[in-house]
Subunit: 230 residues, 2 copies
Amino acid sequence: MSAVEVLAGVDIVALRLSEAGRLQVLLLCRQREPYEGQWALPGVLVNGRCADVSLDAAAARALVDKARLQPQYLEQVATVGNGARDPRGWSLSTCYLALLAPDAEPQDEHLRFVELQAIMAGQQSLPFDHAQLVRLAAERLQGKSVYSSLPLYLLASRFSVTEALGAYQACLGQPVQHTTLRGRLERMRAQSWIVDTGEKNYPKMGRPQTLLQHCPQADEAFIFDRSLLA
Amino acid sequence: MSAVEVLAGVDIVALRLSEAGRLQVLLLCRQREPYEGQWALPGVLVNGRCADVSLDAAAARALVDKARLQPQYLEQVATVGNGARDPRGWSLSTCYLALLAPDAEPQDEHLRFVELQAIMAGQQSLPFDHAQLVRLAAERLQGKSVYSSLPLYLLASRFSVTEALGAYQACLGQPVQHTTLRGRLERMRAQSWIVDTGEKNYPKMGRPQTLLQHCPQADEAFIFDRSLLA
DNA sequence: ATAATAGTGTCTGTGAGACATTATGTA
DNA sequence: TACATAATGTCTCACAGACACTATTAT
C-alpha cells in the first residue's frame, strides 16, 4: 500500500417503488473478492486511472456499468471512512441515493431488488457496512420527503395522485392526508413543476384518475416551506 | 502511485461570528508544497497509517492539530473528487462545516480569519478548489438556518436575543424579524434547548438584555417545522 | 341503485410577517 | 426629562390536519 493514498469508492443505494407500494433496494451479486458471491450494493472504486471526471460521474457510471439503469434522481448522501468497513484495510466510501422509475428492471441474474424493510430489520444482511449505508440513504430520503417533492422521482412519467400518495407514504413510513398532498401538487402546478396531461386512467372501479406529469424545473427537488407531520 | 488507491483528505470550513456580526473563515498558511506559503483551509490527509478511527475523527483532528480549536458544531458537508482540484493528480476531499464560538482566537501567526464575503466575492482567492468548498459549506449553513437552530452554535455560552438575531442574519444574509426569532427561542425553551439564566446584560443605553443559554438536547440542531422567509 | 375510488369544501390550529405598543435601563 | 434598546401584543395570512361531502366511473 502506498504511503499517503487510500482505498476509496462509491456505493449506490438505488431505490424503486414496488407495485405493492414498498421501497426496494437494488443489489448486485459480487463477482470478485472480497465477499464474492454475496449480494451487496453496486459500487465502483475511484482512482486516477478511471476516466471519471468527478465523483458524481463515478456514481452515475457505477449504476450504468453494473446495472444499465439511469436514475431519475441522484444525490450524494455521505462519505464514511474507517479501518473496519473493508477487510482490505482503512477505506472510504461515498454513498449515493438514487431514485429509479417503477419500471426499472434488473437486466440479468446478477441483479436483484430486495425490500428495504428486510435490510432495515436485519433480515437481509449485507457485506461491508452496506446496511449502514442503506440506513443513511433511507434517512436522507425520509428527512427530505417531509419538506420536498423527492418521492415524485420514484414515479413513472405519468402518475395519479393516488400513486404520488403511495410514494410519499413509502418514503415517510406513515400515512399522509391526500388533501395535503393535493395542495402541494397544486402549488407545484402553479410553478410548472407539475402538468395536468388531461389524460385519464380508468381503473376497474371508481372514478377515473387525472394523470399528472412531473416536470422538474431545477436539479434539486421542489422545496415546500412547511413540514408534513409536524 | 498505487494501482487502486487515491489521494484523499478532509478540509474544514470553520466559521466564526465577528464582533461586527459578520461570518469569518479560518485559514491556515500552508507549510508544505503544494501551494506552500498560501492561505488555505485547514485539512489533513487520511490514510490507513493515521490513527483516525473514522473520517469524522480525522476532521476533528484537523482542527485540533492545526489550530487547537474545538468547534461547537461539526458536520460533514460533501465530498468532491476530480482530477483538477489538486496538482498531484486525481484526489478526494471531504468538506466539513465547523462552527466556532465568537471568542475563538488564532493561536499563532500561521492562522488567520478572513471575511466569508471576501472569499464568496472572489476578493480573497484560495488554492485547490477551496473557494468552492467554502461555498458549499456556506450554502449548507444558509439552507439549514432557515429551518433549524444552527446559527446558535456560533454564539458564546451566554447570549442575548439580539446576538442570536445577528447570528441568524449573518447566516441567512438577510434581515429576520426579532419577534419571529423570539417565538422560535420560546419554543426551544419549552423543550429545554434554551435556558433563561436569569442574568442580565446592562449595555450603555437601553433596557437590559436577558441572557440565555443554549443547551442542545441532541447532536443535531433543533428543527422547526416551518421555514423562515418563505 | 350500489360500490368504489377521485376530487372538493370547510373548519381549526399553528406559526411566520409586519408593525404598534409597552417596559426598563442610562444620561 | 429624553433617549435607546428590549420585550410584548395584535392582526393577517398561508398551509397542514382532519373530515365531511360531492363527482364519476363500473357492475
